[in-house]
C-alpha cells in the first residue's frame, strides 16, 4: 500500500519498498542503490556476502513490474564507487542491461559515483528536471520541489515495547528525501543536523514497513 503525497503540484506515491512513483509522468525514483558495496568492502578486507547487487536489482525488478514506468531515475550513489560497474557479476550486469534497455534509465550523479557508470546503458546527468520537480542527489539549501537522496534517512520510534528503527522518507512541502534502496545501505537519523537543517520547520517521516508506510510528524 502506497502513501499519496501531493507535492509541487503533482500527485506522488511513496512505496513501502523505499521508492517514489510519479504516476502521471510514469516515473519511478530510487536513491542510493550502492551497487557493488559488498565487493568494495571485500577490497578493504571484509569479505561480506557478495549478493548485495543481486538483491538490490531483484527488488528493483519487482517495482518495474508493478509500476511499468517509462522512466527510472536513480538519484545518485547508484554504484558504491566509480569502478563499481566493472565489478558487477555477468548475471547482474545482464539484469541491469535488460532494465536500462527497457526504460529510460537516468543515472543522476552522486558523490560516490561522480563519473557516468560504464557499459550498463542509461543516461548520466548531473540532475534531472521535469515539470516543477527537480531530482538531484544531495539536497540544496533553500531549494523547493526537490527530490533527493544521499543522506539515507532513518527514524527511531519509541513504541510500547521499545524502540523501532527503520529507513524512512523525510518530507515537507518543499523537499522529499528518499531512503537508500541498496541492500547494504545503512542510515542516518533524521534528527541529525545534516538532515534536520534542510527541514527547519520539521516535516513528516514515513517509515518503511512490509506492507505499508508508517507516518509520524517530526
Amino acid at each position: 500500500m502506497t502513501a499519496v503525497f501531493h507535492f509541487g503540484g503533482e500527485m506522488l506515491q511513496l512505496d513501502p519498498a523505499g521508492a517514489l512513483v510519479w504516476p502521471a509522468a510514469r516515473v519511478l525514483v530510487v536513491a542510493d542503490l550502492h551497487l557493488e558495496k559488498g565487493s568494495a568492502a571485500a577490497r578493504g578486507g571484509q569479505l561480506v556476502p557478495p549478493w548485495d547487487s543481486r538483491v538490490t536489482l531483484e527488488r528493483l525488478t519487482l517495482l518495474l513490474r508493478r509500476y511499468a514506468p517509462r522512466t527510472v531515475v536513480a538519484l545518485g550513489d547508484s554504484f558504491h564507487d566509480d569502478k563499481g560497474a566493472s565489478r558487477l557479476s555477468p548475471t547482474d550486469a545482464a539484469t541491469l542491461h535488460r532494465m536500462t534497455s527497457a526504460v529510460d534509465f537516468i543515472w543522476v550523479k552522486g558523490n560516490h559515483d561522480p563519473g557516468p557508470p560504464q557499459g550498463v546503458g542509461g543516461t548520466a546527468v548531473a540532475e534531472w528536471i521535469s515539470a516543477r520537480l527537480c531530482f538531484r542527489h544531495q539536497a540544496a539549501t533553500g531549494a523547493t520541489g526537490e527530490i533527493s537522496g544521499h543522506f539515507h534517512p532513518k527514524a527511531r520510534v519509541v513504541t510500547r515495547a521499545g524502540e523501532v528503527v527503520r529507513p524512512c522518507f523525510m518530507a515537507d512541502g518543499r523537499k522529499i528525501m528518499l531512503p537508500a534502496f541498496g541492500a547494504y545501505t545503512g542510515g542516518l537519523d533524521v534528527r541529525a543536523a545534516a538532515i534536520a537543517s534542510h527541514f527547519p520547520r520539521g516535516g513528516r517521516v514515513f517509515l518503511l514497513g512490509a506492507q505499508r508506510l508508517f507516518s509520524f510528524p517530526v
Partner: protein
Amino acid sequence: MPGTLPEPFAIWFAARGWAARPHQLAMLAAAEAGENVLLIAPTGGGKTLAGFLPSLVALATPREKPRLHTLYVSPLKALATDIARNLTAPVTQMGLPIRIETRTGDTPADRRKRQRENPPDMLLTTPESLALLLSLEDAPAMFAALACVIVDEVHALAGTKRGDQLALCLARLATLAPAARRVGLSATIAHRAPLLAYIACGAAARLIEVAESAPPQISMMLPEQKIAWSGRMGLASASAVMKRIRAAGMTIVFVNTRAQAELLFQELWRLNEETLPIALHHGSLDIAQRRRVEAAMAEGALRAVVATSSLDLGIDWGGVDQVIQVGAPKGTARLLQRVGRANHRMDEPSLAVLVPANRFEVLECEAAISGVAARELDGDAPGPGGLDVLAQHLLLMASCRPYLPDDMFDEVRRAAPYAALSRQDFDDALRFVEDGGYALSHYERWRKLFRDSQGMIHVANARVARQARMNIGTIVEMPLLKVRIAGRGGMALGEVEESFANGLREGDTFMFAGRLLVFLRIREITLECAEGGTGTPAVPAYGGTRMSLTTNLAARVRAMLHDPARWKTLPDQVREWLAMQAERSELPAPDGLLVEIFPREQKWYLVAYGFEGRNAHQTLGMLLTRRMERFGYAPLGFVATEYVIGVWSANEPLDIDGLFNHDLLGEDLELWMAETSMLRRTFRNVAVISGLVERHHPGAEKNRRQVTVNTDLIYNVLRKHQPDHVLLRATWADARGGLTDLGRLNQMLDRAHGRIRVQRLDRVSPLAVPVLLDIGRESVRTPADEDSLLLETEELVAEALGTVAMAPPKRRAPRLAGAR
C-alpha cells in the same frame, strides 16, 4: 610425597608464621613429575600462590640466559596487575633473581617491544593479549623455552568464547613449547571432567582438590513488611539491608543486574543517615572509578559496596565480614562463589544473607540454601567451541607463520572445546577466512589467505595480518556511549548503551554511577549530562544474556513446592500462599507440567509452570503464540519469567496437549527464530568475532570513509542466498545454547509428555498472580511484530495530535526517539 619447601621459601614462610599447605606441596610434587594439574580449591585457599610456587622454586636458581619461563593468563586485566604486585613482594623479600611483568591491552608500546626482545621470567597476561603474542612472527622464539602456563579462574573461562580462544592458544603453546606444563586454577565447580580436559589439552592432567573445611552459614532475610508478589529489585528490604551494614565491619551487597545495583545503591544512601562509606561497583562504570573502589576496599576504607558480577572474580580483599545477596541467587555454584567473598580464611565459615525480592524468590532462596548444605553444585557443562572463534584463530596463526591444514586441524583438536570438531567444519571455517566461503565465488582477488604449491596456508599480505591483530578478541559490546559530566574536565562516569541514550530528551533525569543526572545532549560518542535532576529517573538497562535459574535449583524448587512437609522453614505468608494454591488449583508436581486456564477481563489466560528459566520460557512463549494462532485461539501476548510462562488470548485455549506437543520444536521454531532480533544480535557477534566485519580498521580514526556494512543487512542477504554458510551455522549453534535455551525447553516438553495437568479455573490462581503483575515486560520481537507496534504507535500519535498536526508531540506521549 616430598614434605618440605626448599630453603629460602621455608625461611620466608616461617618468618610469617605460615606452614606450607598440603595442596601447595602437592603442586610442587606435580611440577617435579612434569604433570599438568588442575587445582580446585575454594576461594581463600592460597590457590594463586600454590600455582606460582613451583615456578618460583625453579627460578630461584639463577639461569644463564633469562627466557620466558612462566606464563600466567587471567580473565581480568586488573587481576594480572594485582597478582604481579602480590608476587613481587615475596620475590623481593627472598632476593630471588626473577623478573615479573604484565602484558595487557594497556601495556605501553615501548615496554611491549622490550618484552619481545628481552622477555621477563614471568609474564602475566589475558587471553586476548596472549592471542596477539601468538600471532606475531617471533612467537616461536619467544615461547620456545616456556616451562609453565598457569590459567587462573578456569571455571569462569571454560564454556565462554574467551575460553574457546584461550583453549586454542593453549593448543598452540603445546606445539611451540611441547615441554611446558599447564596448570589450571579453579573454584569449586560441578563439572570437573571438562575442566580437566581443558587443562590437559590432548594430554593427561592430574586433579588436586582442596575440600571446603567450613561450610558457609547462609540465612534468609525477609522484608519488614509484606513479601512482594512480583518485582526483582528487592528495594523493600533496603532498610533491613542497611541495618546489617551498620552492624558489620565490611559488607558486599551482591545484586543481579546493573540497573538493580543503581537503584539499591540510591535507596541505601537515602537511608544512610550516618553517611557510612558505601560504594557502587558494576561493569559499566568507568574503569578508573572501579579501581578506586577496589583500592578503598583493600584499605578497609569502605563499609559496604553494592556490586554485580563485576566483583565475582578478582583477588581476595580479606576483611569482608558478610555477603548479602539481594534478589534471586539463580544457582548454587554462583552463590558459593559470591559467598566465598566473605571471610577469606579457610578455617572459618563465610557468612551470607539472602534477600528475596518476591515470593517465588523466597522459594528459590530456600532451595539454594538447601542446595549449598547438600554441597550440590550446578551450572551447565561447557559446550563445543565456536566456529567464529576458530575462524579468528586460523587467521591469526597464519599471520604468525604458514601452516599445513592437516597439522592445524590436529593442533586445534587438542583444544578441549574443539576435540570433536569435524573436518568439514574446520575446512569451512578455513575457507571462510580464505575468501569468504561463498557459493558465488567472487572474491578471488581479495582473498586473505593463499596456499602454496605444498599446500601450506600463508597470510595474503602484511595488511591482512595487521587488520587481524587489530581485531583480536571475543567480547562484542552493544554500541555504547561514554557518559561524562559536561564542561571542561568533566568527569567520565562510564558507559551506557546507545539505545538507552536515544530514549532520553534534554532535561530528562536518569540514574547512573550512583548519581542523579540530567541529560543534556549527545555529542558524537559521548552522552553529556549534569548533576542534579528531578522527577522519576530512568535507569539504564543493559542487553546481553542474563543468567537463568539453573536446572538443579529449579528441580529443588519444584520438589519443595510439591511437598508441604518441607514448607516448615518458609515464612508464614509464603506457606499460606502455597496452601491457598493447593486449595484453589493444585501445586505443580516435580514431574509433569501444570497448566492453568482462566478468564479475566474478557480474555483467556494460560499459565504453564515450567520452571526452566526465563530464556527457555521466552522461546516457549513465541512458539505457543504461533501455534495458538493456528488453532484459532487468537493469542494477544505473553510474558515469561524464570518460573512460568503466561499467554493471553481472545478465545479459550482448548487442546492443551496439542499445544504442548513435542513437534513444537519443529519447523515453527526455525522459521520464527530466523526472524527474531535475538538471532540478528547473535549473528552480529559471530560476524565481529569471525572477522567478517571489523571493529577496528587501520587508519579508520583519521579517515571515517571506510566501508562498513550493517550486520543485520548482511544477515538478510546471507540467509537468503546461502542459509548453510558456516557463519549462519555458528549463529544457530550459539542461539540454541544461550538466548533460546532449547535444551531446557526440550527437557520440559519431554517431562510434560503425557503428564500435563490442566486446571480450568474461574479466576486467577494464587500462584499465577505474580506473572500477571509482570505483564508488559516482554520485548522479543520479529519484524512483523515491529510493524504492528509501529501501527499502534502511529494511531496513538494521530489520536493525540490530530492527523494534521506537525508540532512535536507532548511529553510522555509516544514519540520519535531522540527528540530533543
